[in-house]
Amino acid sequence: MTHHLPRLLAPLAALALAVTACTAGSSTAPAPAGSSATTAGGSSDRITLGLVAEPASLDFTKSDGAAIPQALLVNVYEGLVKLDQDGKIVPALATSWKVSDENKTYTFELTDKAKFTNGTAFTAADAVFSINRVKTDWTTSLKAAMDVVAEAKAISPTQLQVTLSAPSNDWLYRMTTHLGAMFSATGVDDLANKPIGTGPYTFTSWNRGDSITLTRNEAYWGTKPHYQSVVLKYFKDPTALNNALITNAINVVTTVQAPEALGQFTGNSKYQVIEGTTNGEVLLSFNNANEIFKDKRVRQAIRHAIDHKALMETCWAGKGTLIGSFVPPTDPWYEDLTGVTPFNKATATSLLTQAGKLGATLRLRVPTLPYAVSCGQVVKAQLEAVGLKVTLDQLEFPATWLEQVFRGGDFDMSIIAHVEPRDLKAVFGNPAYYTKYGTPEIQGLLKAADEGSVDEQTAKLKQVGRLLAEDAAGDVLFLLPNLMVADAGITGLPQNAIAVAFDLSKLGKR
């Protein structure tokens, strides 16, 4: 036999080589740096971050999905303003701004140092172009937030004036998201493949299915980042993500998908574990258009039935924050409302009995996301313990879940984390939304908050939060924690994940 082995091996080896050779010449060959994930730990020039959801495209003007702005905003694209770690709006490309005319006119002073990576300088004209382009070219749902803009004009190359048709506190906030990303008037031909921005990093390559590589923008107008290159590496499997950190294939796990697994990193001096907060309210949503949920007692019973502490303990290893409302602590109008409907099985059962819905069957349709799948099982068990029947199914995320639950309304309850910042209005202010909620009272308060002063805004939104809790429009199970694990020496990692962007510019090394 042994004589035959080399002969057998030879053609196979040849095949392998042939395939190999093809790779080198392939059209979308990634840059060497971006293609590999090991050895990252040793290089001071390069850092590799492990992320969970890979973007489907690089063009957030055409495609939804949090992954694109997470990677590109603040890093490749910059806005006029951005959000700091405490949730405050701070300058970015705009060095300062003034609001006048009953909060309807915004005048931004722009930096004159910024330059797009295609070589052109950033001017007010680009800003006007970018703002107008949202209305004309964007196709994502976010664009609606720009509808309030009546006019944008360049007063001088460094002065931009934006006039709103009505006062809106929300508008400036939205400008911190990718809605406010500044594009070069001459650099939007191929956004899906060639993003051009003013940010501290330039887009270098995208090895689809694997990683995106960003390179330091040596011509950046602000403080240049420490790392020469940043690799964002995407993992579908949480275990693989953790393994990658353990085996030095990555330096940072940006989102710990299985909090139970944190155990292997805590107490190990090689790693630092970062626990912060996010905007991600894990919402047990009700389809309020359904007959059964028209009865407030049922909604309240469900809130009473759920032992939130045990739930968070069970499905997210106790990591996270119990908030009892739809407002995260990083918003100024946050209030701890966990006491509104305390966990009480007896109350729940008696409410259900009063409503005549004891033994009713509810369809809990959750997306295929780790926390939703986990929590779904706990919710099912807890609701069944008070006399409801729950059928749990799992819908592929995003497509099927969007199709059937979100758009189709074919569900009784679902679980999903609403990670968009300040999404109170979107989720509970719109009867057409999948939660089918949005009483005139709430809508009125939301409008007043948007148009009023900052103090008014805070007061009104507090009221909304409380109303929602008392009316049990849905049940916020808990607030997702921002859990990261990183090599011990890495600095500048954001404590809280409250902005849509993952700011890579502060990353450094001790």
């Binding site: 082995l5 293609s35 590999s36 890979e54 495209s57 493949n193 579908k236 990658a244 085996t247 199709e403």
Partner: protein
């Protein structure tokens, strides 16, 4: 001989045609409007209609099918609905990854299966054969991804000998490429090898009972030489069949291992794009996979002709 090749080629081409229609038909059935998915949850009807027109989704199905297959023939796989990237190069990259992984694991499988399967067959009555046979049975029973997980936890996490996953094109860093390839190829290869071993064993057993093998021994060949000179080629037909089937299923089946080892292969591309409802990508990937399988079958058919002269003249 030429006729047989022509025959097989015809079957191959007809199969291609039929399966492309099947794949297209199936994709039409997929719920979810790709334009709507691409635009996200709050898109307006106007935007959706515009995008549908842009992708040609509003044209009659027959026309869509013809333009798609026409593109396939010209090796133009179209543009993704969502990422707007050209699909061809993307699939080509992924296919290379999958092919390397599958080829490597099949090499391991064959290197494992040929000697051990033969040994098991020759010694099937002895303790060594029985023990090997039992080991292979256990190997067959282990899911490949479980093998992968175990290999990672031992060799990557505990021993730190090899990376736990990832992929580097061989041209950039051959050493790293090989180190990253080893574990996934092993997890697939060991399991597939165990399966193949069973087939080699039974094929060799089958051949061992052939008259001509007894003739060979009556000529003065030792059992092993008789087997090598006369048996293996005759045992090759069933083994090649299984090998072909394994290759074919592995191209998709490797997706599990790709998931475990974070390898950007074709299976992952398919799975991701089903999730994204990037219909055209799904359609193309499925088609590429089907073509690959049919191609493998075609090659296997030709191999039959090479192995067994009886098939060259006699009609099946």
């Amino acid at each position: 001989m030429l006729l047989r090749i022509a025959e097989r080629t015809a079957v191959f081409l007809v199969s291609l045609g039929v399966s492309s229609a099947l794949v297209f038909g199936f994709m039409v059935l997929l719920p979810g409007d790709p334009a709507r998915v691409a635009l996200g949850i709050n898109a307006t009807e106007v935007d959706v209609a515009r995008l549908r027109a842009e992708f040609g989704l509003d044209r009659p199905l027959g026309e869509q099918y013809l333009s798609w297959t026409g593109g396939l023939v010209r090796a133009d796989l179209g543009t993704s609905y969502i990422s707007r990237a050209e699909i061809g190069p993307q699939i080509a990259d992924r296919l290379q990854v999958s092919l390397i992984l599958v080829a490597a694991s099949m090499i391991i499988a064959v290197l494992l299966a040929l000697p051990f399967g033969t040994l098991m067959a020759v010694h099937h009555r002895r303790a060594s054969g029985v023990v090997l046979s039992a080991i292979s049975q256990v190997g067959v029973a282990v899911p490949a991804f479980l093998a992968g997980i175990l290999l990672i936890s031992v060799f990557a996490v505990h021993l730190r000998w090899l990376p736990s996953g990832g992929w580097t094109p061989p041209a950039y860093d051959p050493g790293l490429f090989l180190r990253q390839l080893l574990l996934p190829a092993l997890s697939l290869g060991l399991v597939q090898g165990a399966v193949l071993t069973r087939y080699v064993r039974s094929a060799v057993l089958e051949v061992l009972r052939e008259d001509f093998l007894r003739t060979a021994r009556a000529k003065g060949l030792t059992p092993l030489r008789a087997l090598v000179r006369h048996g293996l080629r005759n045992a090759a037909v069933p083994v090649v069949t299984v090998l072909g089937l394994q290759l074919a299923t592995l191209l998709v089946g490797a997706v599990v291992i790709e998931r475990v080892f974070v390898i950007p292969g074709l299976g992952s591309l398919l799975l991701d794009n089903v999730g994204n409802r990037d219909l055209i990508v799904v359609q193309d990937v499925v088609m590429v996979l089907v073509v690959a399988v049919l191609l493998v079958n075609f090659v296997v058919d030709l191999l039959y002709l090479a192995i067994d002269p009886r098939l060259r003249t006699a009609s099946r």
